[in-house]
Structures are given as C-alpha cells and as structure tokens.
C-alpha cells in the first residue's frame, strides 16, 4: 500500500494558512476542522512550512503575545514531505522514528494532500485486519 492509496480514501483536501496570518486564526482553523497541523503556503501557493499544535505549545511559555504573532514566527520551515508513491511502511517508520505527526504530500512540486500519523495507523490497522481475514478465510476454505 502506498500514500496515494491513503489519499484516495481520505481525499486530497488540505487546510492551509498563509505565513502572515496570526496564530489566533490558526487556532480557529485547528478547532473548526478538528485537525492538528496546517500547511503554510506563500502567495505563489508554494509550501514553505508546517504549523503544528506543538509549534505553538513550544513557543507559548516564552511569549505572552503569541496569539497575535504571525504564523511565520512559529512554524517549522525545514519539513520532511512525502510523495504519493511512498510506501506505507516506510512512511510509518519515518514518522515513528522522527516523531513526526503530519507529512504533507507533494507531487511534482504541488501540494496534493496531507497524511497524519492517525491516517497511517488506520491504514496499517485496516491492512492487518485484511490480512487476518484473508488468512482465516483461507484456513476455513481448506476445511470445506
């Protein structure tokens, strides 16, 4: 299974934000869409960073004025991205080992989706369920 399969199931819709928007607006988007990260795009629609809940939490204790600060002040710039052809297993390993919760998916320079660790866990769970079902069916078929 690859990332394209996950996107085909969950859809390619990504909630994005601009770097000059305020953290308060980002929080509103987190709540409205029940998500934990926003992809940051510049005027040209290029991916320039990722704003995760954790970025805000990390900055908040040192910064009383965090809510009015721009997204660009807090976002992570140096991010890892996935491609639609990435294998589910490599992505699961990378996200687990590097403690990454969200991977934007980029195809030929264009943002085409986002995969969260929840999506990866769900895909793995479904995969293993499918495997167990197949094996059970094969065992039962052998008895018929």
């Amino acid at each position: 299974m690859n990332i394209q399969t996950i996107l085909a199931t969950k859809g390619a819709h990504v909630i994005t934000i601009r770097p000059e928007q305020a953290i308060r607006e980002a929080l509103v988007l987190f709540i409205r869409h029940n998500i934990g990260a926003l992809v940051v795009l510049d005027d040209a629609g290029q991916l320039i960073g990722l704003l995760a809940e954790r970025d805000i939490i990390r900055a908040a204790p040192m910064n009383e004025a965090i809510f009015s600060q721009p997204v660009s002040a807090v976002m992570t710039r140096d991010i890892i991205t996935a491609v639609p052809q990435d294998d589910l297993m490599s992505v699961a390993n990378t996200m687990t080992e590097m403690r990454i919760r969200h991977l934007p998916v980029v195809d030929r320079g264009r943002l085409v989706g986002i995969v969260s660790i929840g999506d990866v866990v769900k895909a793995q769970r479904d995969h293993y369920h499918g495997e167990v079902d197949t094996l059970q069916t094969q065992l039962l078929a052998g008895d018929i």
Binding site: I3, G11, D87
Partner: protein
Amino acid sequence: MGQPGTDTNPLRVAIIGAGPSGFYVAEHLLNQQGLVVEIDMLDRLPTPYGLVRGGVAPDHQKIKAVTATYDKIAAHSGFHFYGYVEFGKDLTLHDLREMYHQIVYTTGAQTDQHLGIPGEDLHGSWPATAFVAWYNGHPDFCDYQFDFSHERVAVVGVGNVAVDVARILCRTPEELATTDIADYALEALRHSRIKEVHMLGRRGPAQAVFTNPELKELGELAGAEVSVLPEEVALDDLSRIALEKSQDRATYRKLELLQKYAAQKATTKPRQLIIRFLVSPVELLGNADGQVAAVRLVKNVLYATEAGTLRPSPTDQFETLPVGLVFRSVGYRGVPLPGVPFDERWDVILSKCVNCGRKQG
C-alpha cells in the same frame, strides 16, 4: 419518519458490483446489531463473485473456495442478488436514489494503469487484466485473440497478477488441463510457441511486491525454469540498510528464494521464466505492421525519498529486448460510473463526495 434501520422502515442499501468487496460490505451491514437492513446487490454480469470468478488464476482453485463464505452471506433473508443489471444502462443513479437510502459502489479497479511510454498501444501490447479475464472465461473478453506464436514475451510488473500471467504462459498444456481455465484458452495456449517469459521489475528484489508462496510456485513449474540475473538480485546498500532496520522475515525469505533461482544451473525444460529487476520499459518498438517487436529498457538505480521509500531512478544504460507480446501489470484503476463523481487524479470514487452526509472532519 425516523431513522431507517427498523422493522417498519428497514435501511435499504444497493450494492453495485457482486465481487468480494460487495459481499464484505453486505456481511458487515447484515451483522450490525439492532439494524434491520435490506440489501439488493446488482451486477452487470449474470453471475456473482466478480474477481473470484474472473481474476483468481485457474490453477489456484483453493482460493476460489472463498465463495462458500459469500454463499452464506447471500443466504441471509435480507439479501437479494440481481444479475445482468447494468448501472447507468438498466438503472441510473436517479432511479436508485428513489429506492435506496444508501448506495455502495464496489465496482473494483477494472482496468490497468498505463505505462505512459511511446508504443504502448502497438498490437501485441495488452493490459494483463484482459489476458486474465480471457483465460478465466469472462464474457466481455472471450472473443479476444492473443498471438502466442512469438518466442519471447514481456510481463511488465512484479506483483502477483504479473506472476499469475507469467505462470499461466509457462504452464504446460497438461498442467493447464487440470485447472479451471476456459476451454478456448487452453486450446490457444496448447499451440503456444513461447520459449521465454521476461518479468520486468523497476525496483530491486527487496521491493518486489509478489508474495513468497507465488514466487516459490514459479520454481515448481513442470515445463519452465525460473532464472534471475545474479547481479540484479544482489542487495544494494540502501535496501540492505532498510532490511536490517525492518528485520522483515518475509523479505529475507523472498531474497533467499530469488538467490536460489539465480544460482540454479540451466536445465532442459522447454521454457525459461526470467525475472528481471531494476529495469523500466521506456518504449515499445514496433515493426512495419504496427506489431510489438521489442521493448527498450533503461537500467535503474534506487534512491531513498525523504520519507524513506526506495524508488527507481533511471541511469543512462539501455538495452533492447526483442519480444512479440507485452502484458502490462503495473497497477490498476477504477472506472467512472455514469452520474457518480469520480476523482481523476486517484482514479477512484471518493467516499466523501457521494451523498454520505458528513462534512470533512
């Protein structure tokens, strides 16, 4: 009117497509505690079971025994099957919306992904799905004519469908006669002059997606010897590191089998099945009649993506493999249904586009 799913107002569900997915959806719905459901399963063909009938290889009879499970589901009083009913022709989305609370599309991935290379549409270049459906007696494909008079064949892909295609091409008529293969296919393959079947994988042996029982079976063919080039089965550094990290036993076993095939001495069996790795077709070359005459291959090396997947990257080394027949088996895609939103990018019907009443969460 209250929520459907009760004795007086059962949840009425239409399932389009009577393959495995359709039956599992039906089973799931019928097993819901406290939900009264009436399921009508429709199929374009007069017969149920979809890919189990038209896709599972005829020499893998045991797998087809899974239909016993589907028969149990079908025996449920809330379940009805209507064969020979084509969505979009005999019934439209509009008709179904009037009659059902829910519509589930389980029409599968019916056609193949394109290679996207020049010459792909030459005569003699086929989707593996067409060949598979043909030897399984699918009514849409039984009139197809495959020309087995060529000595060399390429099967593009190293998944289990590619293995099925290669294995059926390599089986002796005596072996095939004991299977469930369509009579006309057995007759056509009886006159096959194929001597070499080349399976082409774009990545390395550790990334090949065929499963080990299928790979092992290739080593047990009565009339064909399987071989692998030793230099193509040697593990590159990236794959070795990935494997040391994952410690995946199935991959170790796969490599063992492939290395065994690579070390095998040539025998006198009439056919050769050659499994190639790290090569991608870049062009199909035709003769004056527009018939496939060769496939041009580029040698690949592997690189790791940021997320850690090993992917092929072409080098500047090419080779030309003369072949008269090509079967493409590099993945499958769904086909749009009339009136149903279809995502062209992923070649699927996106669940959330269709009437399921939930906002993106």
